[in-house]
Amino acid sequence: MAEKDSKDTSRRSFLHDGLWGISMAALGSLAGFAFSRTAKEKTVWQIDPYKCTCCGKCTTECVLALSAVKCVHVYAMCGYCELCTGYFDPDPHELDTGAENQLCPTGAIIRTFIEDPYYSYAIDEDLCNGCGKCVKGCNAFGNGSLFLQIRHNLCVNCNKCAIAAACPSQAIKKVPADEPYILKQVG
């Protein structure tokens, strides 16, 4: 009986050790294989402005209370129009900074007089919620100098971007961290 027991134990421990070795080897080869494919540089999420359709999901899908997506402005592309279709409601009462005339629901665009007849438009990122209403307006009738980007001082770089999962045009992709923005080009 005792002999049978010890046989049992040694068989069990042999099985145990064998499985342990196999698991170790499996983990090792998994590590090796994955290591051969590891990214050398960090990546971050970014919106491709040429794919973005300004659906408004960036405002609601981001895991942050106030979305990390903001409107950015490439000034070199801007026409500095007095009647900016990114700034003004399609049917404004007056061409002034009254809230009822503005397209932006949070009043995040700062309009400043430069010289006759030019006005500059800047984004207050603390107010911007990334809804893209101004982007739509600017794309429709303007130069398209306003567009949405993920701001990396705010983005928490989730393993899977919640906005990317919901984006109807699949415009959000991973980009190298040393070139973290896709800015529109003049032209």
Binding site: A39, D91, P92, N153
Partner: protein, 436 residues
Amino acid sequence: MRRKDLLMTILGVILCLTAIAAGQTRRFPPPDFQSGYEMPTTETPPPDADFYEYIAVAVLAAALGVGTYFIFVKRSRKYAWALMIFSLAFFGFWRMGCVCPIGATQNMAVSMFDPGYAVPITVLIIFLLPLALSLFHGRVFCGTVCPLGAIQDVVLLKPLSVPFWLESSLRLLGYLYLGLALVLAITGAGFIICQYDPFVSFFRLSGNFGVLAIGGAFLIMGVFIGRPYCRFLCPYGILLRQLSRLSKWKVKISPDECVKCRLCEDSCPFGAIRKPTGEASSEELAARKKILAVLILLFPFIVLAGGFGGSQISGLLSRSHHDVRLADRIYLEESGQVEGTTDESEAFRGTGESIESLYELSAEIQAEFSRGSWILGGFIGLVIGGTLIKHTIRRNSDEYLADAGDCLACGRCFEYCPRERLRLSKLQEDKQVLYG
């Protein structure tokens, strides 16, 4: 007011015409400023340096080491608890729970099947460290380091015991969740472990209502049922459980020998303590042998049945993929079965890609899903068959043991053991002798 309306309309028409004529080129040339105005440049704040991620990896390695020391050498719940709170603060609230090894499972799966997908080295290490440790010291990660475990551990106030059969059955959910997450990650449908992570929205102190509600439900449940997510759902816990069963050193309730005093019997809120079994009667053994023989014969059929069952939900599963849903929608719109468009279908039509290629892509993805759901179903069959066989084989033991797979290495049972108390008082005496 009317005049302005008219002006706007005329302007709009002119703009539209020029836009059509010029395509997407610039409609208004940049002004030639006379006032000396300088154009500002667009600010591009950079992301955090990689540095923080390496810190997180280093802290993870250190925490695993310290946790092992607290559980295996110090055998102290108090120290383990302190480490757990630190981990909750650091990995949970400071690092905001992301990236965690649980979610990293999906990245690893994608990288196995997609040569174009690269896993960051930090994610690879975060995924592997707890698994490697589990082959030596069991689930120290679960008990002392995992922030998702920690947040459930702190709310556990009135633990109720879950019957063994229920516990075993509910655990299947974890296997199902793991299999589903892998299939959805590999096919490119999404990362459901991250999307439905119940606690990450608490760590970030923001989140949508659905996820907050799931998290809240888990925490309320967690007051009475010890760590429900860890025990019944956590997909990474499944991997740790299997590897821990082989671990070199296992958590022991008694520091030396079990005196079978039964004091620890109800100390584990996670149902991980196994009572001594005693010797089995020969009738019982014979009966078990018969059941085992039947089960082994049935085993291939259970796996096949699982696979077949899985294949039946392939169509449903594939609808979780964006492109398959889009192709469905476009088909409905094209064939006139629905009115209007969605954001998705409009965006697709805006790209100018051909509908045929979308249908082809969708068919390819659905074929992948069909293979994947056979494998998923077969895997579930395998788990069910394996669980039945495992419960049929009788393991004799003559002491109270922490089940190596179930034990989360929290250290709660230690202080219930009189042998442990003896050990501690001896330590105390030795200290007095040494230091007066």
